[in-house]
């Protein structure tokens, strides 16, 4: 793990993910990626699923990636990285590595669409097979690259272009799939949630470093506030991420060996969900009187889930 003590130092570390990419100003994807790829001294081979990160970071003849990078398709970032990792193992065994002296680690990035939905099978397979890689889901709760359609990560009540609010609709009707727990259920040695930003950047960096140095398949679900589709000001990205944590809409925790759960940040005082929801245009309709019941439901579910995490941690099973 790199020893970086403050944000200023972090901002000056040699970058494996260069600026000049075409992510929207204020996009959290770039922040998360930069933290992950700079969390280790090891060399990296990266695969990325089709999505905002991919289309914005390697537009021929340019690339933001100063490490080996592969993009195949939308649903196969995990399968692709598993093949690269298998090649690394094969060449090590056959004494044919290109750089004998270097230690190579494998990381895949996918959006929530490429991870929760279309790429889920590929991720589940690569995880079950035990490849040594970290998979990071950049969870912006929708298909943003294609204009903000719903995914199975979209939370109840969110307006998206395929679950729009309307005269008789309050937006998304289904609850957000609990992918982090599903990944833990694979028995992964390490699974965690994380957010980008100034308050929790060390938490993310530490989790990324731990995941990369852990042998076997590891998974980080990183909430990635999307200024364009969540409808908030680009300069508010970090604040939105922090509010997700303070309201417990997106709690920070890690799970080791598929079961040992640790909450890595406990809000001093859990804020009401409205503090988070009211800051984003995608939830604005929930503040109409006829939708107040949706807000209540969301709060109830958040409380229930937080309680579940607390008890699970306490039980230590």
């Amino acid at each position: 793990m790199k020893n970086i003590s403050n944000l200023k130092e972090f901002a000056c570390t040699p970058d494996r993910f260069q600026g000049g990419h075409r992510l929207c100003p204020g996009c959290a994807h770039g922040m998360i990626v930069r933290e992950v790829v700079n969390a280790t001294e090891d060399d990296l081979v990266i695969s990325t699923a089709t999505g905002c990160l991919e289309v914005c970071s390697a537009i021929y003849p340019y690339t933001s990636w100063d490490v080996s990078w592969l993009h195949i398709g939308f649903e196969n970032a995990a399968a692709g990285i598993s093949g690269a990792e298998a090649m690394y193992k094969a060449l090590s065994r056959k004494n044919r590595l290109y750089n004998e002296d270097r230690n190579v680690k494998f990381v895949a990035f996918g959006g929530d669409g490429g991870t929760y939905d279309i790429g889920f099978q590929s991720l589940s397979g690569a995880t079950e097979r035990g490849h040594d890689f970290l998979y990071v889901c950049l969870d912006n709760e929708g298909y943003m690259n294609t204009g903000g359609q719903r995914s199975s990560s979209t939370p109840i009540g969110a307006h998206t272009t395929t679950s729009p609010r309307g005269r008789v609709s309050y937006g998304e009707k289904n609850r957000k799939k609990d992918l982090t727990m599903i990944m833990a259920a694979h028995g992964c040695p390490y699974v965690a949630t994380a957010v980008p930003g100034s308050k929790h950047w060390k938490d993310l960096a530490a989790k990324a470093a731990k995941a990369i140095s852990t042998a076997g398949p590891t998974f980080i679900n990183a909430l990635s506030p999307c200024t364009t589709e969540w409808k908030f000001k680009p300069e508010d990205t970090v604040e939105i991420a922090d509010l997700a944590v303070e309201t417990c809409m997106f709690p920070l925790y890690e799970i080791e060996d598929g079961h040992k759960l640790t909450i890595t940040y406990r809000p001093k005082q859990k804020l009401p969900v409205e503090e988070y929801l009211s800051r984003q245009g995608r939830f604005s309709h929930l503040f109409k009187p006829e939708n107040s019941w949706v807000l209540e439901e969301i709060q109830k579910e958040v409380d229930r889930y937080w309680e579940y995490l607390l008890r699970r941690e306490e039980a230590g099973v």
Partner: protein, 405 residues
């Protein structure tokens, strides 16, 4: 180091066994595969080679063919020898990634055991899968028997990995008729086979982390066309390398392969175009027809892609009537072989009376008698100097006649 496998100078192998031994002898670094009838034994044999120390690469038993080809892409981009096997629905599930593999110019070898595509579900041989991958940017080589399945697979690695080519290659053999039919095969010993293929030659490997590589970048209007045209040109120019590899193989084994195979064409007045195991059935039918005085010959593109236009036109230039036999249902057109051969002739200022036959779908038998009938119909066209038979007919189809005119 992998153990050597002691092979006899003559083995009795079916096509699957033959292909598996070729993969073993190539000492592939990563095989990522998923089982499907009739290519399953290739995957099983490979697992058993691994379990017994005859291969020492990685064998990634993925959860689908989509992931099989995706892992092959990741492995090949990482920088080493990669192969897989599939059939039919598995091939169909791979299609998206077939294009991605060839677009990244990755020299993956895939041994395909050809089988029908559902629906209705059918596990038997036809060329539906091969035709589905026609435009995917792969070189497609055809093997008509187990010996050829072995030989083509060895050649495939050398062609794919040549720095002038760097394209993925499939070797195709008919489901069951070749894959599950044991015949005498003369293999090379392990060292000779490996030496023929040669060591893997890295080109832009991702694992050379001192020289980071970007694979699968985004290109829009400014660059996509240039990439695809360059890729196409590499395919169109690959015949020079294919010919070289076939020549080297002949020197080593005495077995001569050509991008266009033909039989008794020299004095022929009519010809059949046919690919796969039916080519061998047709050889017998040609001999019989010749006993009856019909001057008929046979032709087959051994490389279905790149399609050998000029060579085919040259060989067919004095032929009066041609029947193209396609083992896939074209669904609203003439079969691919019909179209390619007609195009090849037209491009060279030649013409012949051409008919199309669809045969063998879902493993339907095509016998010597059936082929004889096709030869006779084609001969009628030649004698009449115009087409007097159906434009497109079905061989050995039951029920009402469904031919098209």
């Amino acid at each position: 180091m992998a153990e050597k496998y002691q092979l006899k100078s003559k083995e009795v192998w079916d096509g699957n066994t033959a292909a598996s031994h070729a993969l073993r002898q190539a000492q592939v670094d990563v095989v990522a595969a998923y089982p499907i009838t009739p290519s399953t034994p290739i995957v099983q044999n490979y697992a058993s080679f691994l379990a017994n120390g005859y291969v020492d690469g990685e064998f990634v038993m993925v959860e689908s063919e989509h992931s099989a080809m995706s892992a092959c892409v990741g492995a090949a981009a990482a920088g080493g020898r990669v192969a897989t096997a599939t059939s039919s629905q598995g091939y169909a599930l791979m299609v998206e990634v077939l294009y991605q593999a060839s677009g990244m110019r990755l020299p993956i070898v895939m041994t395909v055991v050809n089988r029908a595509l559902a629906s209705p579900l059918n596990i038997h041989g036809d060329h539906g899968d091969l035709y589905l991958g026609r435009d995917a940017g792969w070189i497609h080589l055809i093997a008509n028997n187990p010996q050829e399945a072995y030989d083509m697979t060895l050649c495939a690695f050398r062609i794919a990995e040549d720095e002038r080519v760097r394209l993925p290659v499939t070797t195709n053999q008919d489901g069951f008729l070749v894959s599950h039919t044991a015949q005498v095969v003369e293999p090379l010993d392990d060292d000779t086979a490996y030496k023929f293929i040669g060591d893997y030659k890295p080109l832009n490997p991702m694992l050379d982390i001192k020289n980071p590589q970007t694979y699968g970048a985004q290109t829009e209007e400014e660059w996509h066309f240039e990439f695809k045209a360059t890729q196409h040109k590499a395919l169109m120019e690959s015949p020079a390398v294919i010919d070289e590899v076939f020549a080297a193989f002949e020197k080593l084994t005495g077995r001569k392969y050509n991008r266009v195979e033909s039989y008794k064409l020299d004095d022929a007045e009519i010809a059949l175009v046919v690919m796969g195991s039916a080519y061998e059935t047709s050889m017998v039918a040609v001999d019989k027809a010749r006993e009856e005085g019909i001057k008929v010959g046979l032709i087959m593109p051994r490389s279905f892609r790149p399609f050998p236009y000029n060579e085919i036109a040259e060989k067919l230039k004095n032929i009066k009537a041609i029947a193209a036999l396609d083992r896939s249902c074209p669904m609203g057109a003439m079969g691919a072989l019909y179209n390619e051969v007609a195009g090849a002739l037209a491009a060279n200022g030649e013409s012949a009376i051409m008919t199309n036959y669809i045969y063998g779908l879902g493993g339907r038998d095509t016998t010597i008698e059936h082929i004889l009938e096709v030869i006779k119909e084609t001969n009628e066209n030649a004698k009449a100097g115009k087409r007097v038979t159906d434009l497109q007919g079905f061989i050995n189809l039951r029920g009402p006649k469904l031919s098209f005119n």
